[in-house]
Amino acid sequence: MRVEFILNGESVCVEAEPTDRLLDILRGQFSLGGVKEGCGEGECGACSILLNNRLVNSCLVAMGSIVGAAVVTIEGYRTTKRYEVLERTFAKAGAVQCGFCTPGMIMAAEALLSKNPTPTTDEIRAAISGNLCRCTGYNMIIQAIEMAAKEGVGLW
């Protein structure tokens, strides 16, 4: 089937099977390699993107389900001022080691801050609870998001 949707702000159209995973189309057809595949079953959050402004695992999204929807990946998000703040605070806090979880973590941080610009530590923990990181032990990621909320006042 032909699937038209909005990808990082632009209308796109792609030929896909209805059950093709959005993850594979983003990586394969659109070369958006910032969307990572970890577990492939919605457990790790490495493939997190925004679908109509909500955080989702793109491995669990069928192409047939997103007709007309708006998809934002890390590649689209990185052109924003909000991203600049998160990039800076993630670096400052040492929140990136191997980096595999980072695009998903950034998307989860955006999903949180866009709804709640002044989150508590517990709210941050809950917001990234579906994103696994095997390097940092999470504390630096939580600090990075706390710092972003402070440094990015007014952006979210």
Binding site: T19, G42, S48, R54, L60, A62, G64, A108, S129
Partner: protein, 278 residues
Amino acid sequence: MVKAYHPKTVKEALIWKERCPKARIYAGGTDFMVAPNKETDILFINQIKELHRIEETEETIVIGAACTYLELQENPLIPSLLKEAVKELASPAIRSIGTLGGNICNASPAGDMLPLLYVLEAKLKLSSQAGSRKLSLNDFILGVRKTALMPEELLEAIILPKESFTLTYYKKIGARKSTAISKVSFSGVAVIENDVVMDVRMAFGSVGTTVVRKTEIEALASNRLLSELPISEMIREYDNAIQPIDDQRSTAAYRKTMCLYLAEDFLSNIGNQISYIR
């Protein structure tokens, strides 16, 4: 070649459901996409606006079957007990697209919302081109992934009676807090008036082919003074009634032990008239 249908309305969806009774329903996709069947036609209902409505009548709250957990969390009509339990389900990204209707129709013994929906005595509106019928959740779920849904039918809405309780209780036990399939889940509600137990309902998940709810055991508590609640007798009865199994997530012995602890904790807190979640 797999066919995909994208109805815009429930009416249109029911036409397709009758024409292609074997088509699989795609609501949130969070279970479907873990093991997608590439051979079966698919009826996508996730973009049908009517199925995302949440409305109230004088006596009920009517939840469209394709409402996501996030939509439930954001809606003021949804009872707080349900909202609190939703927080324990999966992860934010799964709650963005996973649906209450999907949790029901998948009929997994470990469905996180099911014990709660059993004690809230949810009813289901099942529709086909011929009309609609209402069925209690208890009569709808027949076994592991088996339901009473007819091939030409679609789950259209979940209907919750409006009730108030003096105690509500929900607890899920998994290997970790987030994104875990439960080893045991438990939900209880109670109504106390002037120190007399008017109503007690308890349901256990992940410990049988369907959720376990035993109204005959609950009845032992009705019309008893709080001080005379037969807790040990009830626990003994649940000990006989709950027969879990060993599997990759847990053992029968652990599950049984936890069920009885949770039941006891709930029953001994009935007099405290506070909500307990987690």
